[in-house]
Subunit: 302 residues, 3 copies
């Protein structure tokens, strides 16, 4: 599917640019407000990541900020929270009706079929980590970034599905420490360092490195292969046996595609591959193999 | 609920002291027997952690030992085991009737709604790690501690729910190595180092550092916020979607509390918060949201 | 059960030798083809690991290669794949009928009741990591080994149950990076280093170190204790409560064995233990406590 014209989207808290090589760069655009996570920012990010997922032209999505901004993202907008925004739940919502906006964004990123990179070129706090870093596939960061998890210090709870994801990503020992103490950390702290794949001494180096990797992946990997591999990593089945059945079926499905033939041929001929299959053309009634829980319905029994 | 008078509990293998600032300090008191884990110690720890969970005055629970003792805990009491204690299962119990005393203690710690800190100021072995370190939220340790996992060398199996928890805390690669080889390790070994959040060169430095963090958490975090955050970390749901619903509901429930208002106000006013909500006052029929498996019944089908 | 005569098995792509002390050494034997994973190699490894599991004489299984070979294993045999082998699924198989040969081998290793060690003394790629390293209990490696995860670069998906196991072993943050970028890494890279328990500067040092550990484990650990401990680590139950019931029952079952008596006595007498219980003699209708999913049936609904 060739999707929306990203350049004509009516956005204010983020800007979006689709590069010719299939790289969608999303930039936080509230630097005067420390790029704080607003209700509007959440709905704009949700829309952009959903469009990026559906648009066959998009192969990699990068989130970043202006490296000259005072912060990558200083957390949820406290002014909005005090004024009763949906960030902590609107007054009129019943107990079971609230849907955390950070979690909505986090799921749109984690469930994205395109590879996602967070290029963190400034300080970050709260939702600026839980929604804007943790759900991504790859995280590049400025070595000087101050990172804070203040939830427990504010009398609230961590959100944006971080209480599910962080333990999986870096282990429950470290996840418990940062979420239960609220301590500030730096990217090279052993408590958090496995969250970050590359660290850069200068703020201005983070995005170029992310773009270089993105270009490499956009030209060197297949769209269907990436989507299936992400699916297998995120929904691996409940045992090695279930996983074996899922991997086997994914391999058989993809094994008849043009991309697999091209992958083998380019390998034998020692040349770069040209993958052309798209998710739209290669639709399968089997993928996704899991039944996503419908979280939209406010009458969910959870 | 204002609970028991900890000072009048009839305890011998541990001592307990509730500090004014809500810190409950539990000290192993069998140094003449290397603080070995006895049946009596297990029932005393079980009682103390359950009371600490229920008592609204308690905000942090620290476990430690006399730093002059020959060991933090040298494992299960082998004399008792040879004499047929419940530690490995009494002779008269049928196959499905045994309940591992270390596991009972471990669950009382892991499921505790108050934050728990293990201040390990001596050598530790077996149950001294599986029950008295692994189920805690935070672990501070003496750098010189010798750590041993001897189960596989004794012809038995690891216990105290360590076969569930250790892989989650530090990854299955490292957990498999220490539990399947029984090798001794030091706290700075890459095999085990992510289990420990801070390491101290002197045995006498461990408890003071734990108390300093405890004071900071007791005054700077909310009781309900801590309980919900621990619940989310330990029972995050089976997918990002389920987790999103749980986090959303926890946030909505807590978002109307006095603590959340105080958290936002103190943040805006740049002053330390004064959290006053208690778990007793803030009871909710929704929390805990999971149905704990009843492990007491000896006729369990497991 | 005293099993097959390993020396008379009709094998070509691997060689097998059962040492007197219960150590089964399996050596990849395709060095002229870079030890590439062939369909034949997969069926030979499957058979050898299944026999090793069932044979009471076997206590430890080591997989290795000739340290002079150009690679430990250079991945799946691309010639076979291009010629339509079962490695990616045969043409005539329907979508749900393929069973990944690497996954079959991986499950035979991961589910093995004997402790397994991979002694990686050369470069490795693809299936040479996913099937021949990841499912093992312990991994020793040559520091100079080049490691590559090329699946995403070939338009296919990772296999051999690596999308289930790798996140569990080293955390999803690192697993996602290596599987989604396909980047090459060295054993000391923080991205992958927790996968390896010991690293050696010389290729020829890897196997002797693995054999030394194997001898130590073969003489110092019980066969039933090892099998139950591996079972608990791999199938720990869905919560601490379920795990507590499983550990309790395993401890009670094993607690009446001769090995447990010997373990306690040798400990008290400060002498090495002599464990003699075997899995055949110590069969229990309870172990394994999980119902393995039958993956052989091609009509599986997954």
């Amino acid at each position: 599917m060739t999707g929306a014209d990203f350049s004509t989207l009516n956005l204010t808290d983020v800007t979006v640019k689709l590069e010719e090589d299939g790289i969608l760069i999303v930039t936080l655009n509230r630097s005067r407000k420390l790029n704080m996570f607003s209700e509007r920012m959440s709905s704009e990010l949700l829309r952009v990541f959903q469009l990026g997922d559906q648009d066959d032209r998009v192969r990699v999505i990068i989130l970043t900020a202006d490296p000259a901004a005072p912060a990558f993202c200083a957390g949820a907008d406290m002014d909005e929270i005090v004024n009763g925004s949906a960030l902590l739940g609107r007054k009129e919502d019943k107990e079971h009706e609230h849907r955390d906006p950070g979690g909505q964004v986090a799921m749109a990123i984690y469930n994205n079929r395109k590879i996602t990179i967070s290029a963190i070129n400034g300080h970050a706090s709260g939702t600026g980590i839980t929604a804007l870093q943790i759900p991504f596939d790859i995280r590049f960061i400025w070595a000087g970034a101050k990172l804070a998890f203040p939830f427990i210090r504010l009398g609230i709870v961590p959100e944006s599905t971080s209480t599910y994801l962080l333990s999986r990503l870096i282990g429950e020992s470290n996840a418990s420490y940062v979420l239960l103490t609220g301590d500030g950390v730096k990217p090279d702290s052993p408590i958090i360092s496995t969250l970050y794949h590359k660290t850069f001494p200068n703020r201005t180096d983070v995005l170029p490195a992310a773009i270089a990797l993105a270009k490499n992946l956009a030209s060197g990997t297949g769209q269907v292969s990436m989507a299936y591999t992400k699916g297998l990593l995120h929904r691996p089945g409940a045992s090695v046996e279930e996983n074996h059945l899922l991997e086997s079926r994914a391999m058989k499905l993809i094994g008849t595609s043009k991309d697999t033939v091209e992958g083998a041929q380019s390998f034998m001929q020692r040349r770069p591959p040209k993958f052309r299959d798209t998710l739209s053309e290669h639709a399968s009634s089997w993928f996704p193999w899991w039944s996503p829980l419908d979280v939209k319905h406010p009458k969910s029994k959870l």
